[in-house]
């Protein structure tokens, strides 16, 4: 007689092979297809600031800087908002109707497609930035690294909030009550009890939203201005790794151009891999504290 349970476990076990195989083959595919660029430029690819498809001189620095600028600025803008939302939903108005309403709003922000944020940003946010650019006597295009960061900051709020509110809800009630019984105000409880306790979870939330900001493509492509020159001025046009790929991938005819874009994709893949891996580590650490 065949042991059905053993056969079942074996068949189900194939799942592990599929999952690991899928992720490995994505990595290997990206690596193999960017080999010509890796061979030609090596590590210089990361610090070369020219991107010139005509003379086949490719460097990723303008896009790496652009990605770092947009994602860090957007994270900084979004932090006070997502922290307030987490506290509002998870502590101050916990389990009330009003917090349910705000939770729903945040969920809706999360499902709005990136391309619609881009559409809105281009026609309604860019004119505001345009007046700002005129003040600094820059070309008033409206599209800039700062415009992209603003859009991104709205888009990533839900990611940090959804984790933040959960870990804040997990703070044990007796700890908070003990503090209250000593005459602590709510502000002190938040500062001395909730933040230290939920720290690693909140941090994981920010890490994840940072990862989202790095990989976000469409909205950024539409409002960043798509300039391939290195700049640190956030009111000027720029490009991120994701937006240069979106812009040039279909136009790339030369092999080296295409493989350079694929190597940019590989860089993006590795960065988000590391970020997600670490975010997991932080959440796991939180779970251990819980026990």
């Amino acid at each position: 007689m065949i042991n059905t349970e053993k056969v079942y476990k074996k068949i189900i076990g194939i799942g592990g092979v599929i999952i690991i195989g899928l992720l490995l083959s994505i990595f290997i595919t990206l690596f193999l297809n960017s080999l010509p660029t890796i061979k030609k430029f090596g590590f210089k690819f990361l610090i070369n600031k020219t991107w010139d498809p005509v003379f086949e001189n490719f460097g990723a620095l303008p896009f790496i800087i652009g990605t770092i600028l947009t994602s860090i600025i957007s994270l900084i803008i979004s932090v006070p908002f997502s922290l307030s939302l987490s506290l509002f939903i998870g502590e101050y108005y916990r389990d009330t109707f009003i917090s349910k309403v705000f939770e729903t709003f945040i969920e809706i922000i999360a499902v709005i497609p990136s391309v619609i944020f881009g559409l809105w940003g281009l026609f309604y946010l860019a004119p505001i930035i345009r007046s700002l650019q005129l003040k600094f006597s820059l070309p008033p295009t409206g599209v800039s690294i700062f415009t992209a960061s603003l859009i991104l900051s709205i888009m990533i709020i839900p990611y940090a909030t959804s984790i933040g509110k959960e870990v804040i809800k997990l703070v044990p009630i007796d700890l908070k009550e003990a503090a209250f019984s000593f005459g602590a105000t709510r502000y002190e409880v938040v500062k001395k009890i909730i933040f230290p306790y939920a720290r690693s979870g909140i941090f994981a939330g920010f890490l994840l939203s940072f990862g989202r900001a790095i990989g976000e493509t469409m909205a950024v492509t539409m409002v960043i201005g798509n300039s391939n020159f290195l700049t640190f001025n956030i009111l000027k046009s720029g490009n991120t790794i994701a937006s240069i790929i979106a812009n040039e991938f279909t136009e790339a005819v030369e092999t080296l151009h295409l493989t350079s874009l694929i190597e940019l994709g590989l860089i993006l893949f590795l960065i988000t891999f590391i970020i997600n891996f670490f975010a997991h580590f932080f959440v796991i650490k939180r779970k251990i504290i819980e026990i």
């Binding site: 194939i14 499902v111 993006l268 988000t272």
Partner: protein, 275 residues
Amino acid sequence: MKIFKDRIFKFLIIIFTIISILPLFFIFFIILKKGLSVINLNFLLSLPKPPGETGGGILNAIVGTFLLIFIASLISIPLGIFLGIFLYEYKKRKIGEICYIFIDVLQGIPSIVIGIVAYIWIVKKMGHFSAFSGGFALFLILLPIVIKSTKETLDMIPFDLIETSLSLGITYPRTILKVVLPCGMSGMMSGILVGIGRISGETAPLLFTAFGSPFLNLNILKPISSLPHLIFTYTMSPYDDWHRQAWGCALLLIMIILSLNIISKIIVKKWKIEF
């Protein structure tokens, strides 16, 4: 002073909370205002006019979006449920934990990178852009969502249920298939619908896979248009009429995505099995 600080802090939290959802209202107001005037039967049921001419519709994009979703769901739902069961069965083992992290990583890969992978695996092999390659890219995005919702739903099913079934002499695989999976149906369905809502708004991976086409097309081996991709091309075009139509597309897309999410919430409420 202490109480004053407390008050200020609460006030700040309320202010920041309200500001953070203002953009949402702003976006919705504008999409409704600009989109409603565009959408009519002719807009929904006719094909685009050549660039620069006014009029025309978005039928090709609507059909394309549904075809792409269909291709993606067809592969990722069965595979995702299978892999979800794997994660559930192996959750106490090292391999299961590693695979769970890998699924999270897979979900975190930017969609543009997924697009590159689909391009290399399918477009490059076939030699041309196609609806199938676009559907494949969306499949890679949908897969981790289906896996996670399956695993999380199965986790919530009490072990008593499995024990009861086993004590009746039913084999373990049959218990999973006939008892556990049907119980988790509502949770899995709602997860899948949310996932479909997410892929229906994806643009980046379609740029160099499905590519877009102004013609009505049902052949999965040919390029195909889709709503989010159309919004992108129309927005970036220099024509005012296309800008106007982009808002109509945006309204339609938002309505599709919101109704998918609302249906998923209703399913969770209506079909919820209490243990």
